[in-house]
């Protein structure tokens, strides 16, 4: 009898199943508003012009080879990536207490950070430290921390469905009530899936409680630049917490803002109390990396590093990022206008108030099912849509579909 006779069939990951179903659909007007990847107005993937340029430079550079990177990754990438998050003039960087661990995408950065916290935070191998993730949150957060060994993963109030905005009271209450030293996973900007971010004043309130209650700050920053179009604005929360002298982690992804999805480019930025602590932390990070992937892939890190470390390329990149962010902002405006013009019941302000790639439409599961089955518009059961899937060519069809879902299906 096979050793694997009892291995159960696992359910498919929802967001990829959605895309698979979309692919099989032959309806001429089908639209995929599922997976979080940018699309042009022609609904095509977009390799950033600056990326094309830099990749050409890399291919033509015969002095480059395919040797192993150091365990923690390409040094120029790590420092540039942390700088992008914390700012050129970051006092923490000046104090030499910031380090980076190059990782496989934002996921990889989260996982390395989670593994480290489970081993060394709040005691040794304290798997019972509570991990708080927003309700709702990116579905993989749960898996990352669970597989890193944490046994107690809890939601914190975040999305207020009734008012279609941030449940600040609930959030602050959860912070007050969380056991000391609990870990909170915060979305730095462009919250996934709701697109709803705290205001600066709200962030300040959050920080105050977290400091008082000794809660650990773990930022997930997957959309820097992509949210508002401005790198510094999107990093405001991170930089505020650093200025408030928190020791913290930032899991950075360059999948979206560099369009480097499949190259798996990420960085875990560590802000420690001082250089001595940073050195010890990084030494332990190395051990974790060594048994996970040994050393990270070089291609994507080279592209990002070359771009961030060269003023002209950096400026070009910022322009490319703004192009993407602007198109999303435009689609938000358009969708709201069209729904209002159609007289679709309800308020649709949240579409333009929300930020980043995603919008929590407020559609309920039945309405979502209608959208998929009847209108061939594919979105997540939560009502989350990827704004990048909207184009000037399909927006009327989509607005009409939403209108029908809301009016026909309760």
């Amino acid at each position: 009898m096979s050793l694997f006779a009892d291995v159960p069939q696992a359910p498919p990951v929802a967001v990829f199943k959605l895309t698979a179903d979309f692919r099989e659909d032959s309806h001429p007007q089908k639209v995929n508003l599922g997976v979080g990847a940018y699309r042009t107005d022609d609904c095509l993937p977009w390799v950033l012009p600056v990326v094309k340029k830099v990749e050409r430079l890399i291919v033509e550079d015969n002095s480059l080879n395919h040797e192993y990177l150091p365990i923690l990754g390409l040094p120029e990438f790590r420092s540039a990536a942390s700088k992008v998050a914390l700012g050129d003039d970051s006092p923490a960087i000046k104090d030499n207490r910031v380090g980076g661990v190059q990782a496989l995408g934002g996921t990889g950065a989260l996982r390395i950070g989670a593994e480290f916290l489970r081993r060394w935070y709040n005691g040794v191998n304290n798997t019972s430290t509570p991990i708080y993730v927003s309700a709702p949150t990116w579905e993989n957060h749960n898996g990352v921390f669970a597989d890193a060994g944490f046994k107690d993963i809890r939601p914190y109030h975040y999305w207020d469905a009734a008012k279609r905005g941030l449940d600040l009271t609930g959030l602050l209450d959860d912070l007050e009530k969380a056991p000391e030293h609990s870990v909170f996973v915060l979305h730095a900007c462009a919250h996934n899936p709701t697109g709803t971010d705290p205001t600066q004043e709200e962030w300040k309130k959050i920080a105050e409680i977290m400091k008082r209650r000794k809660l650990f700050v773990f930022f997930d920053s997957a959309y820097q630049g992509f949210a508002s179009g401005n790198l510094d604005k999107d990093a405001w929360a991170i930089r505020y917490f650093v200025s408030e002298e928190f020791e913290l982690f930032v899991a950075q992804s360059f999948s979206k803002n560099f369009g480097l999805y499949n190259e798996r480019v990420g960085n875990l930025t560590v802000v420690a109390k001082d250089n001595e602590n940073l050195t010890r932390i990084l030494s332990q990070m190395e051990k974790i990396v060594r048994t996970t992937w040994s050393n990270p892939p070089s291609q994507g890190a080279r592209v990002v590093s070359k771009t961030l470390n060269c003023p002209e390329l950096f400026a070009e990149w910022k322009g490319n990022v703004k192009t993407m962010a602007d198109r999303v902002l435009f689609m938000r405006d358009e969708l709201k206008s069209k729904l209002q013009a159609l007289g679709t019941p309800g308020t649709w302000d949240h579409i333009t108030q929300q930020i980043g790639m995603f919008s929590f439409t407020g559609l309920n599961p039945k309405q979502v099912e209608f959208m998929i089955k009847e209108k061939h518009v594919y979105l997540m059961a939560s009502g989350r849509i990827n704004m990048c899937g909207l184009t000037t060519k399909n927006i009327d069809y989509i607005a009409q579909a939403i209108h029908e879902a809301v009016t026909k299906v309760q």
Partner: protein
Amino acid sequence: MRGLSWMQMGPPDPILGVTEAFKRDTNPKKMNLGVGAYRDDKGKPFVLSCVRKAEALIAAKQLDKEYLPIGGLGDFTKACAQLALGANNEVLSSGRNITVQTISGTGSLRIGANFLSRFHGGSRDVYLPKPSWGNHTPIFRDAGMQLKAYRYYDPSTCGFDFRGALEDISKIPEQSVILLHACAHNPTGVDPKQEQWKEISDIVKKRNLLVFFDMAYQGFASGDIDRDAWAVRYFIEQGHNILLSQSFAKNMGLYGERVGGFTVVCKDIEESKRVESQLKILIRPIYSNPPMNGARIATTILNTPELRLLWLEEVHGMANRIIKMREQLVAGLKKSGSSHNWQHVIDQIGMFCFTGLKPEQVERLTKEFSVYMTKDGRISMAGISSGNVGYLAEGIHAVTK
């Protein structure tokens, strides 16, 4: 003791330590024999021509950068499995394998270890050969498995302890996991002969053990990809449903691109689907989906006839250079006047050689000759060139006479 601040410094990596010390040495004749990456006869990293050609082809295609599936590039996993098993393997035609793209060999072993930890109904024990690659132990341990060992290397002969291995394996509790190096054993360079593999297969079958092959050097050992995969294919033929880790770091020189594969040979296609679904559940919370660049290069090489031929030549070339260095080292030792038996240097295979040097001799070799290697007497043949093999022979002779 609550924040981040209190944990200790992690111990330095023993192999990295060698490289660090080498870098600091100012002796112009210094040699770094700790390096685990191939070097050409001038001591330089070697980017294969087939890789450069593949990169040019890929660049011209202007492909997008959309996420790969969790299990990786389909064309890659197919070609990867074919390379290991042989294109005509019944396993492939029946579809009863699941092969996923992984982060090179390490990532493959880790996924395998995680899978065993979660689903292996039998024992939690993984048996490694003694010695084995240094990273095997922490990988399996971090995945929640326990490590045990079976005799492998015989220091008195610098060869394979065949009797010891069979004895130990015959005592391994049923349903334990046994890890085997498919070829070019790391760190000893000592591989079983085919007749010995056959006996190992028999006893492993008798003991009902789950076989996990680590194949990091296919093509790189003998220069022949089919010959190097012989043990893997034989075991499958003999009915073992194996786990297999593959790396393309060495045989395609794609080290930093992190290209690898993990395969489970299942009972049937239905089981392979279940296993695949669970592998995805394991992979997603580690890195979501694997990196494209290296996998595309490897696939292009394997699936483009001219490039595949070129690759086979280049792999053969790398293996040959190493074999030549082995021969020249032994010749040099004889010429220096050494009376010891150095046959094992030629009998061993692959990138590494267990010289048989004792720690004190290694220390002298480093201090007096600036030859850097690990304390266990292991040298990387890749660090030797026709320009310095004579110097190395003199040094080894000096510390062993």
